[in-house]
C-alpha cells in the first residue's frame, strides 16, 4: 500500500488540532443528519422514558416528570463515525446519573441497552453513561431539539461516536452482559471511542 496518496495534500491546516480525533473533519456550522429510518413524529404528551432491567425500582418518566429532575447541560464537541465532528455544541436535559439515582442500579449491572421509539437500539458499558458522561437531552443551543436530530428527546454520550447517542430514546435497560445493538450488529464497533478510531467491528 502506498505510504501516501499521489497528489493529495489535504486542506490547508494549522498544526495539529488536538480537538479533532483521527480521521475526523470539522463540519463547522452544519450538522449532518444520518439515520437508518424515517424520522418519527412524537407527541410529547404521550412520550415516556423508562429505566428498567437490573435496577431496584424500574421507573418511567413522562415529559413533565423528567423535566422535574435537576437540569444538566453539556458544552463541548461531538463526533460522528461518518467522519464529521462538531465543536462547541450545547445540549440541555438531565444527566443519566440522575435517572439511575432514582431507579437504583443493582450491583450486577454492567451494561445499558438503549432503545428508541423506532426500535433502534445501541449498547453501552455502564461506565460510559455514569459519572457525568451521558445525558438525556431535549434542547440544542437553547432551542428544542429538532426531530431529525432525535427530538423531542435523545441520549447524548459525547465521548463516543454519535450513533451511540440514540435518537428518540425511550428506554434504558440495565443488563449484566453486553449485546450488540442495531449498528453494532450491522458492522459497527461495540464501543466506538473516536480517539481510538473504533469505527467498525475488528478495530482495536
Amino acid at each position: 500500500m502506498a505510504h501516501f496518496t499521489r497528489g493529495f495534500t489535504g486542506r490547508p491546516r494549522r498544526g495539529g488540532n488536538d480537538r479533532l480525533p483521527p480521521g475526523q473533519y470539522d463540519t463547522g456550522e452544519s450538522w449532518p443528519t444520518l439515520t437508518a429510518e424515517l424520522t418519527p413524529t412524537i407527541d410529547v404528551d404521550e412520550w415516556t422514558m423508562a429505566v428498567d432491567g437490573l435496577v431496584d425500582t424500574p421507573t418511567t418518566w413522562d415529559w413533565r416528570g423528567i423535566h422535574a429532575l435537576p437540569p444538566s447541560s453539556y458544552f463541548g464537541d461531538i463526533h460522528c463515525v461518518t467522519t464529521w465532528s462538531k465543536f462547541d455544541t450545547t445540549f440541555s436535559g438531565v444527566s443519566v446519573d440522575a435517572l439511575l439515582d432514582v431507579a437504583g442500579v443493582k450491583p450486577e449491572a454492567t451494561h445499558v441497552f438503549a432503545t428508541s421509539t423506532t426500535g433502534y437500539t445501541t449498547n453501552l458499558p455502564l461506565a460510559d453513561v455514569t459519572g457525568g458522561k451521558a445525558w438525556i437531552v431535549w434542547d440544542f443551543d437553547g432551542k428544542p431539539l429538532p426531530p431529525e436530530h432525535g427530538g423531542p428527546v435523545r441520549l447524548l454520550v459525547p465521548h463516543l461516536y454519535f450513533w451511540k447517542s440514540a435518537k428518540w430514546i425511550t428506554r434504558l435497560e440495565l443488563r449484566d452482559h453486553d449485546e450488540p445493538g442495531f449498528w453494532e450488529r450491522n458492522g459497527y464497533h461495540d464501543r466506538g471511542d473516536p480517539w481510538l478510531e473504533q469505527r467498525y467491528q475488528g478495530d482495536a
Binding site: 500500500m1 502506498a2 489535504g10 480521521g23 449532518p32 424520522t39 450488529r185 450491522n186 467491528q201
Partner: protein
C-alpha cells in the same frame, strides 16, 4: 426492526486494503465513476459502501464513504462520486485521480441498507442517491430477480441523474423536478417531485422500501410513502448532506 439474517452474509472488512484505479470516467461536470481493483476483496451485498481514505505526505488523512454501484460479480468495484462544493475528498477523486493510482479503501461496510434479492422492494432515489440501487439493479438482472425490484429516481434534470440510461433500461420511474418529460401518450409530465398518484401503484405489494438521497428528499419521500400506505417500519433510509 426486522431480522437481517438472510441478507447479512458478507463480513465487514476489518482492515484497509488497496484499490487500484483501473477506470476513470467523468460524467457531466459533477460526477466521476471510478472502477477499482480491490486487493483481498470481500464480496459485497448490493447497497453496501466502501470507505476511501486519502493520505497526505505529512500523515494527514481524510476519509469518506461511497456507495458501491457494481454487481458483486463484477471483477472491479465501481464507485460513483459526486463532486461536492469544496469537497476535500470528492474534489480530489474528481480532479486528481488517474488510472493506475492506488487508493486506501475499506469495505464492504453496512448490513442494513442492503438488498439480498429476495424481498419485493421499492427503491426511491434522489440524485446521486441512485448509486446503491444501481448495484441492486445489476444484481437483479444477473440473478433474474428484476420483478422484485421497483426503482424510482428523482433529479432536477436528466443531466443530473447518473446512470440515467441504465435506469430507463431497467424500467425505473424517473421523476424530474425541473424539466418536463414527454410521456408515451403524447402528453407531458410536468416537472415536480414524484406525485402521490405516481407512487401509489409502485408501492403496491412491496414489503420493503429503500430511500436514499438528501435530508430534504428523504423527508419528503417518507411522508409520501406513508400516504401511499407503506408502513414506516418497512422503510430503510440512507441520507446525506447537511440539514442547512
Amino acid at each position: 426492526m426486522s431480522d437481517l439474517t438472510q441478507e447479512t452474509t458478507s463480513a465487514v472488512a476489518s482492515s484497509w486494503t488497496t484499490g487500484t484505479v483501473r477506470e476513470v470516467e467523468h460524467l457531466g461536470e459533477n460526477f466521476v465513476k471510478l472502477r477499482l481493483e480491490v486487493a483481498d476483496r470481500h464480496d459485497h451485498v448490493p447497497g453496501q459502501h466502501y470507505v476511501v481514505r486519502l493520505r497526505a505526505p505529512d500523515g494527514y488523512t481524510a476519509q469518506r464513504s461511497y456507495s458501491i454501484a457494481s454487481d458483486p460479480a463484477d471483477p472491479l468495484v465501481e464507485l460513483m462520486v459526486e463532486c461536492l462544493p469544496r469537497g476535500e475528498v470528492s474534489g480530489f477523486l474528481h480532479d486528481v485521480v488517474e488510472v493506475g493510482d492506488e487508493l486506501e479503501v475499506r469495505g464492504p461496510i453496512g448490513r442494513w441498507f442492503v438488498w439480498g434479492g429476495t424481498t419485493p422492494s421499492l427503491c426511491v432515489a434522489g440524485g446521486s442517491g441512485v448509486v446503491p440501487f444501481v448495484s441492486m439493479m445489476r444484481y437483479a438482472r444477473r440473478t433474474g430477480t428484476e420483478h422484485l425490484l421497483r426503482v424510482v429516481a428523482s433529479a432536477q434534470t436528466r443531466q443530473k441523474l447518473p446512470y440515467v440510461e441504465e435506469l430507463e433500461e431497467f424500467g425505473a420511474f424517473i421523476a424530474l423536478t425541473r424539466e418536463n418529460q414527454p410521456l408515451p401518450d403524447g402528453s407531458e409530465r410536468v416537472a415536480a417531485h414524484i406525485y402521490p398518484d405516481e407512487l401509489v401503484p409502485l408501492a403496491e405489494g412491496v414489503e420493503r422500501a429503500y430511500v436514499c438521497g438528501s435530508v430534504g428528499f428523504v423527508s419528503f419521500v417518507g411522508r409520501s410513502l406513508g400516504e401511499a400506505g407503506v408502513r414506516s417500519d418497512t422503510v430503510r433510509v440512507e441520507q446525506f448532506g447537511p440539514t442547512g
